[in-house]
């Protein structure tokens, strides 16, 4: 079974600064997908960024980027130029590919990191 660990229960950052959220995972799979989801107070989970394990290039989406270290099983999220609207809980998630077998595309989540952006 896969496990995902987010070791930072809470983080805070000043507006316009950069913050990095940590995530490590444990799996025996060679190919898989990793995701960062954001959950604001509205509870609506929103996909922030995703990474395919076989791609060495780190994914980027505007102010969001990841540092994917496959050998170390690490998948951190960097938020640049933090904005007040980035305040939310962030979840790292793992998915084993495939629609059958033991996967079915279900997500395994970390415990989450509450990020607060201060003005």
């Amino acid at each position: 079974a896969q496990t995902v660990t987010q070791s930072q229960p809470e983080m805070s950052v000043q507006e316009a600064e950069t913050v990095t959220l940590s995530c490590t995972y444990d799996t025996s799979e060679n190919n898989y997908y990793l995701f960062w989801y954001k959950q604001p107070p509205s509870r609506q989970m929103i996909l922030v960024i995703r990474q395919e394990a076989y791609k060495q290039q780190n994914a980027t989406e505007n102010r969001f980027s990841v540092n994917f270290q496959k050998a170390a099983k690490s998948f951190s999220l960097k938020i640049s130029d933090s904005q007040l609207g980035d305040t939310a809980m962030y979840f790292c998630a793992f998915m084993k590919p495939g629609a059958g077998g033991t996967s079915y595309g279900k997500l395994t989540f970390g415990q989450g990191t509450i990020l607060t952006v201060h003005p």
Binding site: R43, M45, L47, K96, G105, L107
Partner: protein, 115 residues
């Protein structure tokens, strides 16, 4: 409405009562997932539907929990004889291509409080 919707938004019930939680996935999405978000257990998978069948029910915590999906669309999660430990936010998600790189779209969740 193009997104996943869930109802009710909040539900307060007394211990021992049955509750039904509803999920309307994005039209055309064949895959539907239920997850539970609680303080003690974090965010955990409950059940997966492909069409109307549920090939993976491995996350349901007890036989008090059941779910069905009809017409390949709406799903209902039923909790019988609710207990205080069932208090949590129940999230539903849908996807057009399960197990792929495609995004799972989440609903806003139902917050269940068992008194």
């Amino acid at each position: 409405g193009a997104g996943v919707s869930q109802s009710p938004s909040n539900k307060v019930t007394e211990k021992g009562k049955d509750v039904e939680l509803r999920c309307d996935p994005i039209s055309g999405h064949t895959a539907l997932y239920w997850y539970r978000q609680s303080l003690g257990q974090g965010l955990e998978f409950l059940i997966y539907f492909q069409g109307n069948s549920a090939p993976d029910k491995s996350g349901l915590p007890s036989d008090r929990f059941s779910a069905e999906r009809t017409g390949g669309s709406v799903s209902t999660l039923t909790i019988q004889r609710t207990q205080q430990e069932d208090s949590a936010v129940y999230l539903c998600a849908s996807s057009s291509d399960p197990g792929s790189y495609n995004e799972q779209f989440f609903g806003p969740g139902t917050r269940l409080t068992v008194l």
